[in-house]
């Protein structure tokens, strides 16, 4: 075991929440089940100030997972070396238990688009994504987890399934996966496939973390239901059921409640974390504990 995931920083297979500054005081009381926190890396890349000071104090009390939203791993162009450097500096002082990023792109020549944009799945994009992940992992000197996206459209250039794409990326890079079960539900609804068939095909043995979140409902051009991954609402029951299904197969995993927009008061978020905690606890009784991927299991 290297120093990066020492006992103090290791993310336990229990519920965590996305950190919001407005919950800072609630978090420092101990009357809740939240065992760890996840931060968006880019919010803590300033040179100093209260945001970083608060995170440093929280880091002394909680394991923290670092979730990047701006690396643009799926971009056609090279990764931004300045941004990678900023990430390296953050990871160096924060020593997060996990680092994850998205199977998406967000930066182009014209600038940063502040959204997770989709890419087609084919041999060319597999190669590009794998090269970028290699670069991230060697720069950070640690394994990263890659998150499955929410999909709204299909590409004519896609020649392989998302699961096959992820398996190929894992096999080329040794990265782990972050399984967002809400994204599975959103994509399944939008792309007309069955969530359980997707989970059957998903390489669950490489999953090191689960995300749970809420979504909004809209309709598409032909009046079909179109779900939007908004992180603005409670997790819905079918997503909880999917989570239970995944946990029954994998055993307990670090499981995060993501709530980034219309952020609720602390008790609402804590109740979501409690619900995840109950599912994880009952799975712990029925299966051996798995504490996520050991970094050396895949990065060789």
């Amino acid at each position: 075991m290297d120093g990066l995931t020492g006992d103090s920083g290791r993310i336990p297979p229990r519920p965590g929440v996305g950190y919001k500054p407005q919950h800072h005081d609630d978090l420092t009381r101990w009357d809740h089940d939240v065992a760890w926190l996840e931060i968006h890396a880019e919010n803590f890349m300033g040179d100093g100030g209260p945001a970083i000071a608060r995170l440093k104090s929280l880091r002394e009390r909680f394991p923290v997972s670092c979730h990047g939203v701006g690396l643009s791993i799926g971009a056609e162009g090279p990764l931004d070396p300045d941004h990678l450097k900023r990430l390296q500096i953050l990871v160096d002082w924060l020593q997060p238990g996990l680092f994850s990023e998205h199977l998406a792109w967000s930066t182009h020549d014209s600038g940063y688009l502040n959204d997770l944009l989709p890419l087609p799945y084919n041999s060319a994009t597999v190669r590009r994504v794998a090269e970028h992940i290699d670069q991230v992992q060697s720069t950070l000197n640690r394994q990263m987890l890659l998150e499955n996206p929410s999909n709204y459209v299909r590409f004519s250039e896609t020649t392989m399934s998302e699961c096959d794409f992820l398996k190929e990326v894992v096999s080329r890079t040794g990265c782990g996966l972050l399984l967002d079960v809400n994204n599975v539900f959103v994509s399944a609804t939008n792309q007309h496939f069955e969530t359980l068939e997707f989970i059957d095909d998903f390489p669950l043995q490489y999953v090191g973390e689960i995300h749970l979140g809420g979504h909004e409902a809209d309709t598409d051009e032909v009046g079909d239901l179109l779900l939007i991954d908004s992180h603005s609402r409670p997790v819905i029951d079918p997503v909880w059921a999917l989570f239970e299904n995944v946990i029954s197969r994998c055993g307990p995993l670090p499981s995060l409640i993501e709530w980034d927009n219309d952020v609720p008061d602390w008790p609402v978020l804590a109740a979501e974390a409690d619900r995840a905690g109950r599912i994880l606890t009952s799975a712990r009784i029925n299966s051996p504990v798995r504490t996520g991927l050991a970094p050396e299991s895949a990065l060789t």
């Binding site: 941004h83 940063y112 688009l113 004519s156």
Partner: protein
Amino acid sequence: MTQGRFVEALLDPKQPVPPGILMPDGTPASRRFNVYRNNVIVSLIDALGDGFPVVRKLVGDAFFRAMARGFAVTNLPSTPLIFRYGDRFPTYIDNYPTSGMVPYLGDVARLEWAHREALHAADAQPCSMDRISDCRDNLLSSLRFEFLPSVRIVQSDFPVLTIWQVNSDSTPSSDRIRMEREDVLLGRPEMDVAMRRLRPGEYCFLEPLLAGETLGTAAERAAKIDGFDLVATLTGLFESRLIHDIRLDGDVK
């Protein structure tokens, strides 16, 4: 389809959806592509609204969102650090066609931007006024000041600080705002950004000093302004704990 083509269509709703972006049944997508258009532009407008809350309050949400949209489509963030997004927004506001109805809007935006920069600037320790007493009198004019990284000055022909304060307070004052110019000094000696109105001549004094000129040069420029008080200004700077270090001209730090 290249990502460049995707971005062009993303930022211009009048453009057709790029070919090869499909519905589940394989027919070309339209409204589904708009999810991305909407996510990008709304998230950038929201980021500007979070970053310039007083500007938003002054003009109202609808006006603000229209103005922010116009800015965002031609000024994407240059990095994924959203808290650094909007450095060019104050100038955009100055030139925005109807913002002339609120002539101080650009200056309020500049103050909000300076506040945000101060918030995220590197932390540093202030030094005490003893540092200046250590110097021999004949060397005073050769001193150069190293300010805390958070220190900023904002110049305005309008009462920009009072406007900011009245519109940031949960209990706004009902006093009439006196329409006189306010230049503002900002800095963050600890975790909170402190702001204060500059006295006559202080902007002229601080501008060269912040640019690395000597105390002598700065004092000479400010001396031309009626009411400038060098001793009071220096004392104020140290009391506000905004100076990190002082060095003699020619010193290598």
